[in-house]
Structure formats: C-alpha cells, structure tokens
Amino acid sequence: MIVGTSGLVLNEKLLFEHSDAGRKGYSLTPLDVPAADLPDGLCREEIAGFPELSEVDVVRHFTRLSTWNYGVDSGFYPLGSCTMKYNPKVNELAARLPGLADVHPATPDHLAQGTLAMMYELQTMLAEISGFAAVSVQPAAGAHGELAGMLTVRAWHEAQGSKRRKVLIPDTAHGTNPATAALAGYEVVPIASEGVLTLEEVEAHMTDEVAALMVTNPNTLGLFETNIAAICELVHARGGLVYCDGANLNALLGIARPGDMGIDVMHFNLHKTFATPHGGGGPGSGPVGVSAALAPFLPGPRVVRDGEAFRFVGTQESVGRMLAFHGNFGIMLRAFAYIRSMGAAGLKHATEMAVLNANYVRARLEGGYHLPYATRSLHEVVFSDRDLPNDCHTLDVAKRLIDYGYHPPTIYFPLVVKGAIMIEPTETESQETLDEFCDAMLAIAKEAEMSPDLLHAAPVRTRTRRLDETAAARQPRLRWEER
C-alpha cells in the first residue's frame, strides 16, 4: 500500500518488504560454454530474507528515499563545527572531467602527470594558505588526518630519542582529539580553559613527559585562542610540539596562518573548509601540514616536482602510508577547483562573511538565548538552554526547528557548555536566510514560554515524530527480521 503523506511526497517500504519471489533486475546472455558446477560448500541454497525486485522497483525505492533527504542544496544547515557551506557546482564539473575522473590509481606516474600536477599544486596551495612547509594529501578524512599528524609527532620525537608519552588536550578542543592521541599511543591529559586557553594552565601541565598539546583554533566555542603564540613558544621551550585541529580553519583562511602562530602540525578538512560535499558519511579528505622540521616524517609517498615532471617520492623517516593508494582524489579535485575559482581574495572574503554571519546570528539571538561566553565569536557561536522556562531544553529547541524547516544546529557540544546550541551559519547564507532562521529561533523561545507543549511534542510536521533515541541506543535492532 502506498499512501502519499503530503501530495506526491511518497511513503516507501523497505526493500525486503517489496520483495516477491522470482523478480529480478538482470538478464544474462545464453551460456555458450560448457556449464561447470561450483564446488559443494561454496553455494547456498537460500539466503534468508534476500530481497527479489525488478529494476524499476529498485530505482523508485532509492529515488523516493532521496526525496526525504535534507542537504545544503535544500536549505540552511547551521551545524556547528561542521562547516556545512554550499558546494559550488563548478567543483562538480571539474571532478567529472573524464580525463581526471576515470584515472586508475595504479596508473604509472608518467601516464598520470595531470593528476599528479593537481595533487602537487594542491599541496603547495594548502601549504601557502596555512603557513606550513609541507603537506601530505593522503589522509582520507579529518580524523584520519589527525592520526597522520599525531603519528608524525610521534615519529619526530622518536627520531630525537625522546620517549614522551602524554598529550595535553584542553576541554574546548574537538571531540576526536583525545581518541586520536590515544590511538597514536599517548596518554591523554585533559586541561581546563576559561573560554580560551591560558598560558598558566599550559605551563602547569607542560612537563618533560608531554609530547604535544592538541588545540583547536578557533576553539569549539568559536573563540580565537588569543594566547596561542605564547603557548606555542612555551611548549617548544619545553621540548614539545603543538598540534592544531584544522576543523575551524574557515575562520582563518586568508586572514591568519596557523604555521605563523608557531603551530607544528595541522590537518585540513577539505570537506569543510574547501567546500566539498559531506555529511553523508564521506568521502572526506584530511591533508596534514607540518613545519620544516617535521616534513620528512609526513605520510608518503608525496608528489614532488622534478623539473617539468611530477612523481611520487617516499622518505626514509616517513610514518608510511595511511592508505593503499593516494587519498580521495575526487575530493582533492573539488577543493582544488574551489581554491582556484575563489582565488586568494575570494577565500579571504569568504572568511570575513563567515565571521560576520556568525556574529549577526549572535547579535540577533542574544537576549532570546543565554550566551555563556561574552568573548567575541569568530565563525560560530554557542548558546545554551539555561534560561529556557517550562522544562524546555536544547533537544526540544532542535526538534522544534525541524518543524520550522531548518536542520538543527549541533547540540550538547562542546561539553563545557551545559545544553549547548552551536550555530555555524557559514559565509554562503544571505541576510534574508539568517533573518528567517533567527526569527524561527526567537519564535521557539517565545513558544517555550507560552506553549511549551509545542516544543515537547516536536517535531509534529515531519513524516516521523520524535524518535526514541534512548530505546534505539539501548535496544538497537541492527538487522531486518520478518515479522
């Protein structure tokens, strides 16, 4: 049975529920060689619940599901810390050029000079943008780039004969940082910030056991780490390195360079800062940039220029490969197209607009929502649910925003703010869009006062009502079973 929920917005069953024995979406040509039996034990008689469908059933199934999707092409997507900026379609054009899209990763260097030249230029541009000496574009995602960066830190320390085993991480750093440090074999030492990290706090913990400090700048409160240069100096003086999580680079592009601040290692999120599509689980791309001293330890092989030619070269000191091949090339290509189409002035303007937009949202919502930190925001702003009445909380606001037609912001992160609502509008939104969103947020704050039931019941205008996240986490049903 198919029931339209709203005109021609169609419901859709699971593939398993569509299945009817004998339907299929393929046809084979007649056998023109003698038939051979597969060995016993390799063939199943039956796969329980294996769906059998015609081609049109499958096409309609996935097309209908796609109409339920919400993305940055359908509306405002202020997911803090994720930089859900619009992805210009010219990037897609570049990524689909057959000469680039169809290159096999095992093609010999001399037959793939165009792809190597693009990777080399991307490495060079990222190095220039960030103030680092060298960049490896190999890591396939942000956390992968982080791991590559921390393995590079580790390799550098080992080459100095130093056996430091701790990493300092402030409470305003990205949530992935402690996991990365642990995976790279370090013990994580959490340190406190007062909105921004103080020199005194770092000084108190910076012993000769500490290999590195991992900061996020601007941090997850959207605040610039104003003491960063002095902090880097201190960490270096005590034999450590400073890692910067580059997830918030969108606030710095064209304005300030992490390398100039004294940072030793940083990963980029091409899928955030450089406008490649993300949010559906990838693919991402997480290049890692380092200072000159760390360059030999970077993951490799990397592309180098050799006269007029380009080739992959590894180093003896390198931490080695992060992947079987060369990284998510299609994403690099989109980022390359983005940088080239924006130009230096365009990237700087984008940063200015990203910061302006976040501060515009901040100015409009201040008063309607509690602002836990008064320090000037950069590209994102964090509110809290502290002042909401009638047992209304951050989760209720997020769910109610869906009724108003907006993807909710990031919620309950960063952890240093209780009931955090983290809004990152990005540079590509017009004032009209920001106003409509802020109007919705303020209307919801008013509803919390006048008719809190609306918030507690939300969302009510969606195809499914509020999901029971607790039950889903406590009793997950991870496979389909016939009922």
């Binding site: 309950y412 992160f413 952890l415 209780k418 996240e469 607790t470 986490a473 406590r474």
Partner: protein, 128 residues
C-alpha cells in the same frame, strides 16, 4: 535532587559510600541528570588496580560519553554486573541499584580529600 549526608563526593560527580576498608562508588544524581538517559556503561574487571583521579570506567548517554574517575586508589573488589545490561538503573537509582564498583582502598587518608554533601552542593552551585 538528593545528596545523601552519609556519602562523600568528588568534583567529578562521583559518590562514595565507605564500608570499612571497602568503598562503593557511583555517579551522583546531579551527574545522571546532566547526562540524560544512560545507554551504555563500561566497568573495569574485578582485580583491576585503580588510581584516585584516574578514569576507571565509561558512561554513555544519548548526549555524551564521559569517563568515570576513581575517588580513591585501590583494587576493584566487585563490580555491579547487572549494570551493563540495564544502564537505565543509573538514572532511576543513582545511589542504590545504580552503584558501579566496590574498591578495596589502599590509602584511607585519600578519603579526607573528598567533599561532604554540603561541600558538594556548594561545588555544583559554583560550577553551574
């Protein structure tokens, strides 16, 4: 919100009930309320050595994952085996059935570092 008078408390929102040289440890009513619905609990194995101020386990809620810190140093004598299968008990009974581990304490003077119920409530008020 309740904070039993006979318990001791840490800044990280664990409670401690002293029974001779054994202490029972869990997270406070304030902590469970801030976390929201707890969906997963990871506890150490019996016999594990724990150190005051270091993480001994993990609680995960729909909002966040948090470490749980040992209030005192010692050896894990017993764990609440029911908890991993029924993590919601931490929400419904943080001071009772939601207890997490029992530690055989190695240095009883560490107990003097902990807060009493009044000090803990002042700590919460100051922090939030």
């Amino acid at each position: 919100m309740e904070f039993p008078e006979e318990f001791k408390y840490t800044e990280e929102h664990e409670w401690v009930q002293v029974e001779g040289d054994l202490v029972i440890v869990g997270i406070t009513d304030f902590a469970q309320d801030a976390l929201g619905d707890v969906v997963f609990v990871e506890l150490p194995e019996v016999g594990t050595e724990v150190t005051a101020g270091k993480a001994f386990g993990v609680v995960e809620s729909v909002k966040a994952v948090s470490d749980v810190y040992a209030p005192v140093s010692g050896t894990v004598e017993e764990i609440n085996e029911e908890l991993p299968d029924a993590p919601e008990v931490i929400n419904t009974s943080p001071y009772g059935d939601g207890w997490m581990i029992k530690i055989r304490i190695s240095d009883p003077t560490e107990l003097e570092e902990l807060m009493d119920a009044t000090e803990y409530q002042a700590h919460i008020a100051e922090e939030h």
